[in-house]
Symmetry: C2
Subunit: 193 residues, 2 copies
Amino acid sequence: MYEQLAKSIGDKVTLTEADFEVCKTFFIPKKIRKKQTLLLEGDVCTYNAFIEKGILRSYTTDEKGQEHIMQFAFEGWWITDLSSFLMGVHSTFTIEAIEDSELLLLTATAREELMDALPVFERYQRLLLQNAYIALQTRVNSALTATAEEKYTKLTISYPDIIARVPQHMIASYLGLTPETLSRVRKQINLRK
Amino acid sequence: MYEQLAKSIGDKVTLTEADFEVCKTFFIPKKIRKKQTLLLEGDVCTYNAFIEKGILRSYTTDEKGQEHIMQFAFEGWWITDLSSFLMGVHSTFTIEAIEDSELLLLTATAREELMDALPVFERYQRLLLQNAYIALQTRVNSALTATAEEKYTKLTISYPDIIARVPQHMIASYLGLTPETLSRVRKQINLRK
DNA sequence: AAATAAAATTGATTTAGATCAATGGTATTT
DNA sequence: AAATACCATTGATCTAAATCAATTTTATTT
């Protein structure tokens, strides 16, 4: 149940086995079924979730009821509404499981305590955040620069997992395209090869 | 020369005056004139720049020679190409002064040393990054969701400084619009009031 | 396994914003 | 202060992607 977490932390910092045992105690394991929500828009996000197994997504809903996906999260990734989680404000995102998933939840206070108990955890969190920030910049740039086809092609290269495991209409939403446009883009690409 | 830095750090963490004196020694002051570059696309970004005075911007240039602005940075903000700065890869961004500016530069090694010397500096950096990440998410969401007019209106509300101090064609670039479209959007808004 | 719901595809049409082009303004530069 | 380069505005036209609508395919549920 903690394999992915051990791997994720170990990739970024050095932690003894004893310290990892301490680390584990701060997390709350939780299973969540496909289509169940971990967070509803408007609620306060009380957890930062680490994914041991499965896929989740976070999304906003606009006035017309259309969903806009902010993030997909797979095994070994984290997902939360950061501003709600850190500042205690009402969330703008809904977080929902795309597959049956196994999570490790960290409350805001547990997170603070864990960073105090194991200073490398703060470093780990900073390193994760750096990567997440860089990835988001790339996404902004793609949104400003790229055509529909370029956006899709870049995604297939950078995140083949998303293409393989996520329904197409959700990929469209993530890229800021309609499902129809994405379907046509894929057809074009296939015709050319 | 260090007023803005003292303010920025003081807003996030607690630092004694003596520690701040230590902190100062890690920075290299630098003046840069309007239109001069701090970083050219393709070079390795050796500095994380804190802005004491002035405005800078970071942007990518596409195949057609068009510039796409990733970030504006004012007094009290930081600017860098994070992935180039941290990983030593060639930068995708150019960083350039919009006005004559005064900077405090931190090299990657100075930054590491500073975080070792003053652990609160690591926390300060993490807190900055958290805010930057949340702001970027908001920008992605706006890019996915909003019309040209909504993008502009949101910017006027969230960042009136940008509207007031940055040329219009750069605002257009930042929003992913052409200068013509932004001009028309502004006209529409003015006609309505 | 049949029934139902959800997702993907394809076609016809519309539209928001881009592009092309010209003019008037506003800064820099000499 | 004149000259030059850069910016913002306005108009006409074009186009990539959205919308509307129908059909086929694939998943879920009973």
